[in-house]
């Protein structure tokens, strides 16, 4: 489907603003377990370890600013900015309690580490290392903006190439794939030593994993191919260059690019831009095609969130349980060549096993069917519900742990 709204490149440059001095961050634990020393009113230094996770898919969590833990619940920790950390000797400020969390964090050296040790070290620095270590025959770096409304990849390639190179050098150490490919939008000119270049039409959903793998390899086999977003390479690069835990994140927020501390609340971005929201608007964490609508503005930016978008009231017809009119528009537009018309009706009427037979597991939740549906049916919602019933992982599920 050709639609100008699906173009994934911008003609005008969108420089990345670096945000410092955020008054408060809220860090979501996800599936990580907080350390026992993390308590209210404890002073923490930027980079101090706050929560851990056993899986290589989830990086550990660190304080992203210097400050004092203001609030702590089962799902998040809030840190309020309070100037510089104490020196090691500990000339204490009055109210806050000082523990080892307040000690400034020392950079780690990656020299001489073998593959396993390097992976472990990076995980402790907050990197989800699983995609990098996955054995494969082809390693693709996806340099397309993942979804419409995200604008950061061109800027990263233009301005932050040294960071990406640093990240890529670690990738080469973690993964011994015989071939590395940089998937660039048409007209893009970046290059990495040791990686081939493929130009791809910058049109959604070409930026999603399976369609992109098909374009690059020409085959519909994803088993021996690893695909990583440029975003993740950039995160790896930040850690590689500093040797410090991951505390920053690049994201497109309301059409502008930022390099902001992890956990920066949505409200802070609104304040910076002087953006006013009305009742009935939607605020989306992630892309407009696959993201999550949030109900409160204190939600902090997670490592997996590369965009915050704003959908004005009434800009989209309401999605309701309207009957499918069987027009076939979704069948034409599905990049996975599924039959969303049948899938959604099976899910709607609770025939989940039929969904499995119609290969629901192949669905990548790109949102194209819901975008085009003239009956305005909540297609993705049906598919997620059916996947949940069948015990298949959904896109949101995979993000929830982060």
């Amino acid at each position: 489907m050709k639609d100008k709204r699906f173009t994934l490149v911008s003609d005008t440059p969108c420089p990345i603003t670096v945000l410092n001095d955020i008054p408060l961050v809220r860090l979501q634990f996800g599936e990580r377990t907080p350390l026992t020393s993390v308590k209210k009113r404890v002073r923490v230094a930027k980079g101090a370890l706050l929560a851990e996770h056993g899986s290589p898919n989830v990086g550990d969590m660190h304080a992203s600013i210097d400050g004092v833990i203001k609030d702590l619940t089962a799902s998040y920790v809030e840190i309020q900015y309070e100037g510089l950390p104490l020196d090691v000797a500990g000339t204490a400020a009055a109210a806050a309690k000082d523990t080892e969390l307040a000690r400034p964090v020392e950079p780690v050296s990656f020299d001489g580490l073998d593959e396993i040790e390097l992976g472990k070290t990076l995980k402790r620095l907050g990197i989800a290392i699983r995609p990098f270590t996955r054995p494969c025959e082809l390693f693709i770096i996806n340099c397309l903006n993942p979804e419409p409304g995200m604008l950061y990849t061109q800027e990263l390639l233009a301005v932050h190439m040294p960071v990406i190179e640093a990240g890529f050098s670690l990738v080469r150490r973690l993964n011994n794939a015989p071939e590395f490919v940089l998937a660039l939008p048409e007209g893009g000119s970046a290059s990495l030593e040791g990686a081939g270049v493929r130009h791809v039409s910058p049109q959604y959903p070409n930026s999603l994993a399976r369609p992109l793998i098909k374009i690059v390899t020409g085959a519909e086999r994803t088993k021996h191919v690893t695909l990583v977003r440029l975003h993740n390479i950039f995160q790896l690069g930040l850690v590689a260059r500093s040797g410090l835990p991951l505390t920053e994140q690049v994201a497109t927020v309301f059409g502008k690019n930022y390099l902001a501390p992890l956990g920066t609340p949505v409200q802070t971005f609104l304040d910076i831009q002087g953006f006013k929201l009305e009742s009935g608007d939607s605020v989306i964490l992630g892309g407009a095609m696959r993201g999550v609508a949030i109900s409160g503005l204190r939600r902090g930016l997670r490592k997996v969130d590369d965009a915050i978008q704003f959908i004005p009231k009434g800009s989209r017809p309401e999605l309701e349980d309207n009957p499918c009119i069987n027009c076939g528009a979704c069948v034409l537009v599905c990049p996975m060549r599924l039959r969303p018309n049948m899938l959604s009706r099976y899910a709607e009427f609770g025939q989940y096993e039929s969904c499995r037979k119609e290969q629901l597991a192949t669905c990548i939740e790109c949102g194209m069917c819901g975008w085009i549906c003239p009956a305005c049916r909540p297609m993705q919602q049906y598919f997620r519900m059916a996947k949940l019933q069948l015990g298949m992982p959904t896109f949101q599920h995979r993000l929830r742990g982060q």
């Binding site: 095609m289 993201g291 949030i294 996975m336 060549r337 039959r339 192949t362 975008w371 003239p374 305005c376």
Partner: protein
């Protein structure tokens, strides 16, 4: 009053909804509006040709369809969908198949049957296995063939029904060079469906707007032309009198072939959704149209051909590419 903020005081309140948060913006209502625009030229031509008679039939059919659907939904306690415009469009489509002089009770009964038997008994829009206007048309044609015969109910008209002439006197009975007159609607038939040029213009508008996909009309017309050409060329060798197998273009210029191919065969719910299935469906519908015209007892083959072909839609839907990865279930 409680100390803290109550829920209603929290401002602003955001809509928490399901993705995608973008929409193409083309809804069923817009689709039905485009259908009405596409039907407008033929409706105008029908009124120009038959006067208030044609308007009477179209208005009555559309009104009865809307009324029947709203009463049916009320009686069954279903959510009303009458405002999506599909009942209105169905009514006009049904009226296009009727002769301009159809008596009011025939129009009313047919319209009610179109909505109830054609669609609502199966669950409403999107659930019908057959094209609703064709169901109504078939019920009327079988029940009151005389009142559905354009020649019989339009006695005052000076026009002729070319289908009858071709059926009983052979295609050579049509005066030479009458193609242009036929194209411009100079024939008796369904009040809208016989306005060939106007219907064709409306059909092309539907294609341009993307309401219907080009595959079905193209395959349908190709099916008619190919089968017609085969019988025209080889008919005498097969023992069919040369007068019974007209040149293929006459199939398109007479009766409701064009109207059915663009407006009824493409009815979303009763037609296949995958490209391969669409071609097979259209070709079969075209093939059956010619077969019914030559061998059947009904002079206009297209409506019954599409009704029959629609029965095979679930089969045609099996003609499809395998999902990503090439693994079939």
């Amino acid at each position: 009053m409680t100390q803290g903020k109550t829920f209603t005081e929290i401002r602003p309140r955001f809509v928490v909804d399901t993705p995608p948060f973008m929409h193409r913006g083309y809804t069923v209502n817009a689709m039905m509006r485009d259908m009405l625009i596409a039907l407008a030229p033929a409706a105008a031509a029908a009124i120009w040709q038959y006067g208030i008679e044609a308007f009477r039939v179209m208005a009555l059919a559309a009104g009865i369809c809307v009324l029947t659907q709203s009463l049916w939904e009320k009686a069954l306690g279903r959510q009303s969908r009458v405002f999506d415009g599909s009942a209105l469009v169905t009514g006009v489509l049904f009226a296009f198949l009727l002769p301009a002089g159809a008596p009011w009770w025939l129009v009313a009964t047919g319209s009610a049957l179109t909505v109830i038997l054609g669609r609502e008994v199966f669950g409403g829009i999107g659930c019908n296995p057959l094209c609703p206007p064709l169901v109504g048309w078939a019920a009327m044609t079988v029940s009151w063939p005389v009142y559905m015969d354009p020649t019989a109910v339009n006695l005052s008209s000076s026009l002729l029904d070319p289908l009858i002439r071709m059926k009983y006197y052979g295609w050579t009975a049509l005066s030479q060079g009458s193609e242009m007159a036929l194209l411009l609607g100079g024939q008796l038939g369904g009040l809208g469906s016989a306005q060939i040029a106007a219907v064709l213009a409306g059909g092309l508008y539907l294609l341009v707007r993307g309401v219907v996909r080009w595959e079905i009309p193209a395959a349908c017309l190709a099916g008619v032309l190919i089968t017609g050409a085969v019988f025209w060329r080889f008919g005498p060798a097969m023992g069919i009198g040369p007068a019974s197998a007209p040149p293929p273009h006459l199939y398109l210029l007479t009766g409701s072939t064009i109207f059915v191919a663009f407006f009824l065969a493409t009815e979303h719910s009763s037609s296949p959704v995958a490209v391969g299935g669409m071609f097979a469906y259209g070709l079969l519908a075209g093939f059956l149209t010619v077969l019914i015209r030559i061998f059947g007892m009904y002079p206009d083959g297209a409506p019954f051909a599409v009704l029959l072909t629609s029965l095979g839609t679930p089969m045609f839907d099996l003609i499809r590419a395998a999902p990503f990865g090439g693994k079939r279930s």
